[in-house]
């Protein structure tokens, strides 16, 4: 007989584990990954592989040889960061830039704070913003021309492609948000812009627009969201409060002057808003823990995103907004939950 095992209650566990949560997030990211590979071919795969491998390797090396501890890569969190970083980069990112991103994400944004659970900012977003500032040319080059086999050589079902039955010009090189930002600044109106550029919501849904790999297909992100909700990995509070805030904010502007401001649906479907809302803002470590904190966090992200998009210098603001609100999380975590006994109701 083995000796009796002794421990305080409870003696059962839900079988939930950090590893299982991370695995669920990876599964939820798969639709976006597949869509990006489908549209951009091997070059997307290259970015993904380099990013994941880079993140895992960086974490392993730092933990093993710098901190001299047992490696922590088996909790799969480095893979999640790697995938998120890749989905936040353009398909045409050179491999060395992706690697720098990995080192920044894991080495600076995650491990310097103490690793999993201790980082203040979302590692993938820190890396993205770092790259955006350091390599503005590469980071805003949305072409897929260096793809090894381009999807326009494949026989694609017509519905997925543009109205003309062909892919958007591989060298167009600007996201829808970038186009309207520049266009509006040059005195054009929304109507002329949309006539010139054919912003089809169908394209946005299926991922047929220019932009970073993961922000492209809204449907893939929604599929991931459904999976995460179904597995109870995340609660819908943060994504909902972000989306509602953005919709309200842009809706009011759009009603004031439809010729100068894009409509709410346009804002929701473009620029990685949903990617950020579903996968980045809901990161456990860098989001608040109480429901009220989550709502404030979501509203904050929505507001900052819209302010940057409409009045800021960058066409896109989700990354900055999330990082900005990340910094407020310790403060938001000070919010105490409503106590158990609000009032004793006597009948």
């Amino acid at each position: 007989m083995d000796k009796l095992l002794i421990s305080p209650a409870p003696h059962l566990h839900s079988k939930d584990s950090t590893r299982r949560i991370m695995r669920d997030v990876i599964i939820a990211l798969m639709p976006s990954v597949l869509v990006s590979v489908y549209f951009a071919g091997l070059s997307a795969l290259l970015v993904l592989v380099v990013s994941v491998a880079g993140c895992v390797l960086t974490e392993h090396l730092i933990v093993r040889y710098l901190m001299k501890k047992k490696t922590t890569v088996s909790d799969l969190s480095a893979i999640v960061t790697g995938l998120l970083l890749a989905l936040n980069l353009p398909v045409s990112s050179p491999w060395w830039m992706v690697l720098i991103g990995c080192v920044v994400a894991i080495g600076i944004a995650k491990m310097t704070f103490g690793g999993l659970g201790h980082n203040l900012f979302n590692p993938a977003l820190v890396a993205r913003v770092f790259l955006l500032i350091s390599f503005p040319v590469q980071m805003t080059n949305w072409t897929i021309s260096n793809s090894i086999f381009r999807p326009d050589r494949w026989e694609l079902p017509k519905g997925l492609l543009g109205a003309q039955g062909q892919l958007m010009d591989a060298s167009s090189g600007a996201t829808p948000l970038g186009i309207i930002k520049e266009g509006l600044a040059n005195g054009m109106t929304m109507e002329t812009l949309s006539q010139q550029h054919d912003f089809s919501y169908w394209h946005m849904l299926f991922g047929h627009i220019d932009g970073s790999m993961g922000e492209a297909s809204v449907l893939a992100i929604l599929a991931g969201l459904l999976y995460l909700l179904f597995r109870k990995v995340i609660r819908p509070v943060i994504p909902l409060s972000i989306v509602i805030t953005v919709a309200l904010f842009s809706g009011i502007l759009w009603m004031v002057d439809p010729s100068q401001y894009a409509d709410p649906l346009f804002h929701l479907l473009t620029g990685g808003l949903l990617l950020g809302a579903v996968f980045m803002a809901t990161d456990y470590t860098t989001s608040p823990m109480s429901p009220l904190g989550m709502i404030i966090f979501g509203i904050g992200i929505g507001l900052v995103t819209m302010v940057i998009r409409v009045w800021g210098a960058y066409p896109e603001g989700v990354s900055f907004a999330i990082l900005f609100m990340n910094a407020l999380v310790p403060l938001l975590n000070k919010i105490k939950p409503f106590p158990y006994q609000k009032e004793v109701s006597r009948g």
């Binding site: 002794i6 209650a9 939930d16 584990s17 659970g117 823990m289 106590p339 004793v344 009948g347």
Partner: protein
Amino acid sequence: MSKTFSIGGIHPKDSKFSKDKPIEEFPVPKRVVISMNQHLGMPAVPVVKKGDTVKVGQLIAEPAGFVSAPVHASVSGTVADVAPYPDFLGKKVLSVVIDTAGDEWLETIDRTHEIKHEITATPQEIFKIISDSGIVGLGGAAFPTHVKLTPLEGMKAEYLILNGAECEPYLTSDYRLMTEHAQEILIGGEMMRRVLGDVAGIIGIEENKPKAIEIMKKLTSNYLQWEVVPLKKRYPQGGEKQLIDAVLGRKVPSFSLPISTGAVVQNVGTAYAVYEAVQKRKPLITNVLTISSSDPSIQKNYRFRVGTPIREFLSAAGAMDKEGNLSRAFAKVVNGGPMMGKPVSNLDGPVMKSTSGFVLFTSKETKRQEPGECIRCSKCFQACPMRLQPYLLYQLALAGRTEELDENRVFDCIECGCCLYSCPAHIPLLDQIRLAKNVSLKNKRKK
């Protein structure tokens, strides 16, 4: 629509494997060790000495104050020793040891199985019998029942809730009682209801026990003051505060007894004990326990005598090998349910009045995993039925910051274990919080 409590909670697999096994009478053991500390409050004071002969049901220890309970002999024979003996946790407790000789009961005890419906005793008499029979809460905490039935200054009971939730996985002793002795439970409940001054009676039963709900509903149709409330399956529904919230929608304030919401909660097992004490003159010397495990051959319900060594139940259920050790497959024996029960470290320790069962686990089922880093998923917060922030309390407890622990209401913790159960990083949250809570309560009492 079934009711449930409003905050937190978890849904562990209910694993009620032994629910269709009828209650078996467990043989009288050769020797019993009867602890003087089977209830909350002051330990009882022995009134017998070494060499005395006692009969079943005879008083062997008197209560040491109001919040205390008497203890009675569960077997007949000679008192072998009155000394500290290790309990199931290896802690030494003053106990009376009796060597069994025959099975001679006190003449006053009615040993027939005939149900005595008519309640002839007055509420005052019932109260007296309850406190003289050593009846304690059989839901787990073993709080002396007569204390709970004594109204506090300025508070009036409006409801008596019989707790048939049995939300702990594996345990089925309450369920078996409700299906086999529903009538007796109801009579016992009716008597307590009268003691409290004709309050409304409610029986709360979780939905995973449809047969018990059905039987109770049928019986209560004869009693106007009684109502059966089906509850959704959810842990910790059987917690006193959660049950009051589920049934009445009222929340018990910190540091207050449930009576402040006008409700008194009693376990169905307690109601059965009250019936036996008043109608049959039998003090609390037997109770029902469940022996359960994932092994289908070790799933039983027994009626036991208080003081029987735990080892005997395990060998009778077939969980012991020839050398008298636990069978190889099992690594842990839990006294009570798996969520709140305590581990057994001394298999020779005796069972108590309020023992509700033993659950056997293999190492694989129960061994704790290596704790990881907190990823701030807030699952513990979502699971906590008292709306505490377990992750925060854990950190504060480790740092020993007592004032901040109080500010964050560590004293409200009911030790249900939901936080540790749901933590994906396997952090031993409750271990530290429980300690901190005890310190906090001790400080409060000093003031």
